[in-house]
Every structure is written in structure tokens, then in C-alpha cells.
Amino acid sequence: TTEIDVDGGIDQDIFDINEALGLDLFEGDIKFDGMQER
């Protein structure tokens, strides 16, 4: 029987997913608004 692995065989954490997308967020998954950045 055909089976699709939605994770592609890897248990990707949030940070791995974002890193693979080339995102460089604060602590991997946090965005800041202008005031917080300052």
C-alpha cells in the first residue's frame, strides 16, 4: 500500500521548519513589533 509521510521521515521542530525557510526570527519563532525591537 502506498503511504505518504507528511513529515518526510523527520521530526522537524518549529525551529527546524523556520530555519529551512531561511527565516531569522528572534529565538527562532518570535516576531517583534517596532517598539519591542527598540
Partner: protein, 693 residues
């Protein structure tokens, strides 16, 4: 750790919008994540109805959130590709509610070691820690279990972990994305001053003598007994499995004595429903005779029946078995009530009786099906990795009538041997001719149950798969979720009956064996996989009819006009067109996730100044636009107020008061001076007179 500052808090009911860009599977999972918040905290989520601040969940690039309520109107939260798992969604919403990551707290070096030379160049800043002026750990101990903790390999440059836990046993614990930990909940409940939750009602494992306020009825011929073992079984309770001496109790109805038909009734305390639907879960042990019965009733109190009326919900029967079995009973009670357990002795000869333990009652939906896998340790020890070690669930039917099945790779796939792998398949069923194909927007959820006695402390592991009718198979010649007898292959049940099994979708990284052996996933050498397949096609369009972008970036809101989303009505959800009643094996009424309460537009929009009209209690109501320093008010948003206007009023009032006071002061001074001069003159002339005289 929470961000410091009350301005970062959300109201207890958080307004949200699910943008249409979200994947369907993610939409369904976001609603499931909200249910966990409703069960375990006092935070609730409601579709946006024009509130000033709300969370807009969309499919961006990656999984991310802002921290806390930024008070900026629309606040985005991204659930992108591969972010569609419940733990990830809970994690991002915890950020939005005001939480940072666990390992950034000031005392983290007491608990974990950061291996700096294993971190990718330029990524060191991700391991900063913050003092108690920046974040507050809310007086809760460091939490390796937190859903907010990095995993051991975060930002590594090679193959070695970047975080080492000072207690080695926690190496594989950090980074769990299953569910809230106990301390996550403690922190969230402290931050938001929670004292109750929306959907939790009661839990009871009969460890205390007061048996959770349950009462023995006087309208019966026998009583339930609180015991820790029965010679005919069970030998132990289910809560502690006999591991704790002088503890571990359950309630038992002895059917080995008494007359045929004798009954014992155990009633819960009075409960007050909020939502109108409940799920009762409990473990049941039958060491009596197959003719013995357990009846679950509810006693409902209404103004017409203040003493309560009984309504039978379910009759539980079956052959005696030498193990505890999990049962779910769906209730739909809207007035105050008690749950009633009635044991009845049957006509057969019994050496034991009926026992119940670990009861949980919550206002949640019950899972549709339960797959109980016994002798699990044996399976773990003997199953090879790969397809030879794969076991299949019995066949089940979804609420729409689709037949499906689940497989579990006990020792993983050959590529991933130290994990549990799980896959979902459509299989040929009795309703196939009446169903829509390819199967559209059915979300199958597979939950490996953490069998903790208290539902609030369970950290079950779950994944969901949604059938997208346009997904093509690898060969691109067929639709993946088409009729199993068209795209599947022949298979057979253990009794030899053949059927067709379609292709499967799932994950080879469902849960590591290390985590599987933690918590209470395996109890009495059993695991439970809870299965639900529900129609989520109503989530195809979830965006409100008035575009939420109206309130985005309030500083420039003057220039942004409301846009009405007409596409919501022109989209055609592919709803299955079942013409005959489908066959299902569900023994309980199946209800779906409550539909999104999208604000209805008013027939005659009475609002002025771009106010949004919504129907509240079937009446139109205007939600007026507002910015940081301006707002519209009045029934039709006809009047404008602004902070500047208020300032002008305040300043001019102050000046006016000052001028009046000045005039009064000057007048008084002048009068006094005049009076003083007169007195002085009079005094001098009197002196002269005296001298002359």
C-alpha cells in the same frame, strides 16, 4: 516565562480570525488547540466580532508569533506549512498570550548547559537568557516538560545537541510538542488569574473517602463499595495499578450476591453545564457475568422537575474481561444534572461484579472510536521495524459514512526504527456508492492517549490528516483520496473478509519510543488510540464577511476602508452529497466542531463613518472604528471623539478655571487693600485727635 507588563495581556476571551490562506488541516487543528485551552485554562477564543485587538491566524512562511498583546488591532500569527500539529499551535498561541521560551529564563544555567561551540555561527543570540525585569517565571520551577522549551538540537551546527539537561533523563523530554505541561498550565493560569475553565467539569479516581461527593442512592437494593481489589478482579485499581501501598481505590458493585435484578445506584454531585454537550470517560472492569449491566443515566433538574428526571444515556454490556476498558459516553445536558451509574445484577452466575475508576467529565466532544491495543510490551519486543511490524486497527466509519482504518508501525518504519509510525487509510465501505469522491475535507485525528487519571494533566500525542480532494497520487494519474476500490489494493481482515484499502497518509515520526515509555501512554500493558474523522468542509471559508484588515495598523486606519469579502459566498465547498443515511458504527451521536461564528452582515447597514454592523442577539449593532487616539461613538458611530479633542477640552477648562480664580483673587486683594487703607486713614486721624486733645 511571561513578558512583564499588564498591557501585554489579552482579555480572557481572545478574538481571532482564521484567514482563508490557512491549510484546511491547520484550521481544524487550531480549533482543537483552542479546545485544549478551554479544557485546561480559563482562556477562551471567539471569532472576531469587531473588537479592537484580535489575532489573525494565517499561513505565512513558517510558524511564528509576536509575544503578548501588542494592542495594535490586527496581530498576526503564522501557521505555515508543516506547522499543522497541535503542540506547535499551542506553542505559538502561548507566545501570543505573553510567554517566552522556557530556556531563556534567568535561572536556566542551573538546569541546562548550553554547548556554545555546537551552535551555528551567528545564532548564539537565540540562547540569551533574560533577567527578572524582562520576564517573569511566575514562581514556577524550571520545566523540562514545557511545550515552550527548545528541543536538544535547536540551532546546532553539526550532529551533537546544543542543550544538555543537567539531569540526563530529561534529554529527550525537552522540546516536546504534545500538549501543555503541568507547569505551562500553572504559569498560564497564574498570569491570567484563572480559577476555572470553560469545559472541565469533574475528575474522580476514588482515592479519597469522600468519593468526590458522589452519593449512594436510597432507591436501590444494594450499594457500590470503595475497594482496592476484588478476588475475581480487578486485582488493582486503574489509577495507580497497585503500585502504591494503601492507596488505589475504585468503586465496585458486587453481582455475586443478591437477587437477580438487584441494583446499586451511584450518583455524582450536582453539575452545572455551560456548553450543552459533554463527554464522560471512565474505565470499566467486568468480573461478573455477561448478563450484568452498567447503565449510565443523567438526572436532570429543571424548573418543571425540580427533583430531577432520569434519562438513560447508555447501556454497557459485554463479556467479562480480565482488564480495565476505557469507555466514552456522550451526553447532551443543558440544565443542572447528576451523572448516575446503575449496576444491575443479571441472571447468570457471577463471582465478581462491575467496577469503575478514573472518571472524567468535560464539556468536550468524545472521540468517535477507540482502538485498544493490549499486550503492547510484547508487540514492542517482538515486532520488526517496517511493514512486517505493522498492525491495523479494526475498520471504522466516519460520521459522513466513509470507511477508514489506521495502521501502527510498532517499531517504526525501516528508515525510522525508534519511533511509532501511524498512517490513515480510506477503505472500501458500505456507503461508497452514496458518497462523494474523491473524499473531500474529512479530518482524521489519531490520538495516542496519555492515560493519566486526570484529563487536565494528560499530555496525549496526536496528529491529524485531512483529505484534500485534489491531491494526486505519486503517478499523478489518480486522486489520492479517491474510492478505495478504484485506487486501493486488496486487503483482508483477520476473519478472512477481503476489502480494498486506499493509499495511506501519516507520519513515521509520530512518537519516539523513549517518549512512548514515559508518562502513562502504556498502562496495564495497553495503549489506546482515539480516532475521530469529521467533516471540516465548513472551514473552507472562515474569514469574516467584513475584512479584518480594516482595523490593521490603527495609526493609518483613517486611510483604510473596509472591504467586503464577496468571495466567501462564491466559493463552493465540496460538500459530500450523501443521499441515503450512511452506515456508521458510532454508538453515540456524533457532532462536529462547532461552526465558525462568522458575523452576519446586517440587511440595512445603519452604521456611519465606516462602522461595522454585526448581528447581536438578532439585532443590528454597530462596532465603531477606533484608533489609538481617536474613535467613533454613538449608536450609529455618528460622533467622533479624539484624544486631541479631550486634551483641548482639558486645557481650556484649566485655563478658564485659572482665569476665574485670578479675577477672584485680584478683586479680593483690591477690596482688602481699599479696606486696609480706610482703616489706616481712620486710625491716623484718631491719633491726631488724641494728640491734639
Amino acid at each position: 516565562n511571561s513578558i512583564i507588563g499588564d498591557n501585554y495581556r489579552w482579555p480572557h476571551v481572545v478574538p481571532y480570525v482564521l484567514e482563508d490562506s490557512l491549510e484546511m488541516n491547520a484550521k481544524g487543528l487550531i480549533l482543537k488547540a483552542f479546545e485544549q485551552y478551554r479544557l485546561k485554562t480559563c482562556i477562551d477564543f471567539r471569532p472576531w466580532e469587531g473588537e479592537k485587538n484580535y489575532i489573525s491566524v494565517f499561513k505565512g512562511s513558517g510558524c511564528w508569533s509576536y509575544v503578548g498583546n501588542l494592542q495594535e488591532g490586527l496581530q498576526q500569527l503564522s501557521i505555515g506549512a508543516n506547522c499543522d500539529r497541535i503542540g506547535t499551535i499551542q506553542h505559538e498561541f502561548l507566545h501570543a498570550l505573553g510567554f517566552w521560551h522556557e530556556q531563556s529564563r534567568s535561572d536556566r544555567d542551573d538546569y541546562v548547559s548550553i554547548i556554545w561551540d555546537r551552535i551555528q555561527p551567528g545564532k548564539d543570540h537565540n540562547f540569551n537568557k533574560y533577567d527578572d525585569k524582562t520576564s517573569d517565571s511566575l514562581n514556577v520551577p524550571y520545566d523540562y516538560d514545557s511545550v515552550m522549551h527548545y528541543s536538544q538540537n535547536a540551532f546546532r551546527n553539526g550532529t551533537e545537541p546544543t542543550i544538555i539537561t543537567n539531569i540526563p533523563d530529561f534529554m529527550d523530554v525537552i522540546g516536546q510538542r504534545m500538549d501543555f505541561s503541568d507547569y505551562d498550565l500553572q504559569k498560564l493560569n497564574r498570569l491570567y488569574n484563572c480559577t476555572s475553565s470553560l469545559s472541565f467539569m469533574d475528575t474522580c479516581s476514588f482515592e479519597l473517602e469522600n468519593i468526590c461527593g458522589m452519593i449512594q442512592s436510597s432507591d436501590d437494593s444494594s450499594d457500590w463499595q470503595r475497594l482496592s481489589q476484588v478476588p475475581a478482579g480487578p486485582n488493582t485499581d486503574h489509577t495507580n495499578m497497585g503500585e502504591c501501598e494503601d492507596s488505589g481505590y475504585f468503586m465496585h458493585f458486587n453481582t455475586s450476591a443478591g437477587a437477580v435484578g438487584s441494583t446499586a445506584i451511584l450518583e455524582s454531585r450536582i453539575l452545572y453545564p455551560k456548553r450543552g454537550f459533554q463527554c464522560l470517560q471512565f474505565y470499566f472492569y467486568n468480573s461478573g457475568h455477561e448478563s450484568d449491566r452498567l447503565y449510565v443515566w443523567v438526572r436532570e433538574y429543571t424548573s418543571a422537575h425540580p427533583n430531577g428526571t432520569l434519562r438513560l444515556i447508555e447501556e454497557i454490556k459485554g463479556s467479562p474481561a480480565s482488564y480495565w476498558q476505557l469507555h466514552h459516553v456522550s451526553l447532551n445536558v443543558t440544565s443542572k444534572f447528576r451523572v448516575v451509574f446503575q449496576g444491575t445484577r443479571g441472571s447468570g452466575s457471577s463471582n465478581g461484579g462491575l467496577s469503575v475508576d478514573d472518571i472524567n467529565l468535560s464539556e468536550t466532544q468524545c472521540p468517535h472510536h477507540v482502538w485498544h491495543i493490549r499486550n503492547f510490551t510484547y508487540l514492542l519486543n517482538t515486532s520488526p521495524a517496517g511493514t512486517a511490524g505493522r498492525i491495523y486497527s479494526p475498520p471504522f466509519y466516519s460520521s459522513k459514512g466513509y470507511a477508514f482504518q489506521v495502521s501502527l508501525y510498532v517499531n517504526g518504519t525501516t528508515d525510522n526504527p525508534f519511533n511509532l509510525a501511524i498512517y490513515l487509510y480510506l477503505i472500501s465501505g458500505a456507503n461508497d456508492d452514496q458518497l462523494q469522491w474523491p473524499c473531500a475535507w474529512q479530518q482524521g485525528t489519531m490520538i495516542l492517549l496519555d492515560q493519566h487519571p486526570d484529563i487536565r494533566q494528560r499530555m496525549s500525542n496526536q496528529r491529524s490528516i485531512t483529505t484534500d480532494p485534489l491531491t494526486l497520487s505519486d503517478s499523478s494519474s489518480t486522486y489520492f483520496w479517491d474510492r478505495p476500490d478504484k485506487v486501493g489494493s486488496i486487503a483482508s481482515f483477520p476473519n478472512g473478509t477481503t476489502f480494498m484499502r486506499g493509499p495511506g497518509s501519516g507520519t513515521s515520526a509520530f512518537l519516539t519510543h523513549q517518549r512512548l515509555k514515559s508518562r502513562n501512554f502504556i498502562k496495564e500493558d495497553s495503549v489506546y488510540i482515539l480516532l475521530t474523522m469529521e467533516d471540516i468542509s465548513h472551514l473552507l471559508s472562515t474569514q469574516p464577511s467584513v475584512s479584518p484588515t480594516f482595523f490593521m495598523n490603527t495609526s493609518s486606519a483613517n486611510t483604510i476602508k473596509p472591504t467586503f469579502n464577496t468571495s466567501a459566498t462564491t466559493k463552493s465547498p465540496m460538500r459530500p452529497t450523501t443521499t441515503t443515511r450512511p452506515v456508521t458504527t458510532a454508538s453515540v451521536p456524533l457532532t462536529e466542531e462547532p461552526e465558525m461564528d462568522v458575523p452576519d452582515s446586517c440587511p440595512d447597514n445603519p452604521c456611519e463613518n465606516d462602522g461595522v454592523c454585526i448581528m447581536v442577539d438578532r439585532g443590528p449593532e454597530c462596532r465603531c472604528p477606533a484608533g489609538d487616539d481617536w474613535w467613533y461613538m454613538g449608536e450609529k458611530c455618528e460622533r467622533k471623539g479624539s484624544a486631541q479633542e479631550n486634551t483641548v477640552i482639558a486645557v481650556s477648562s484649566t485655563v478658564a478655571v485659572f482665569v476665574v480664580m485670578l479675577v477672584v483673587t485680584i478683586t479680593t486683594a483690591v477690596c482688602l487693600k481699599k479696606k486696609y487703607s480706610q482703616v489706616k486713614e481712620n486710625g491716623e486721624s484718631l491719633n491726631l485727635e488724641v494728640n491734639r486733645w
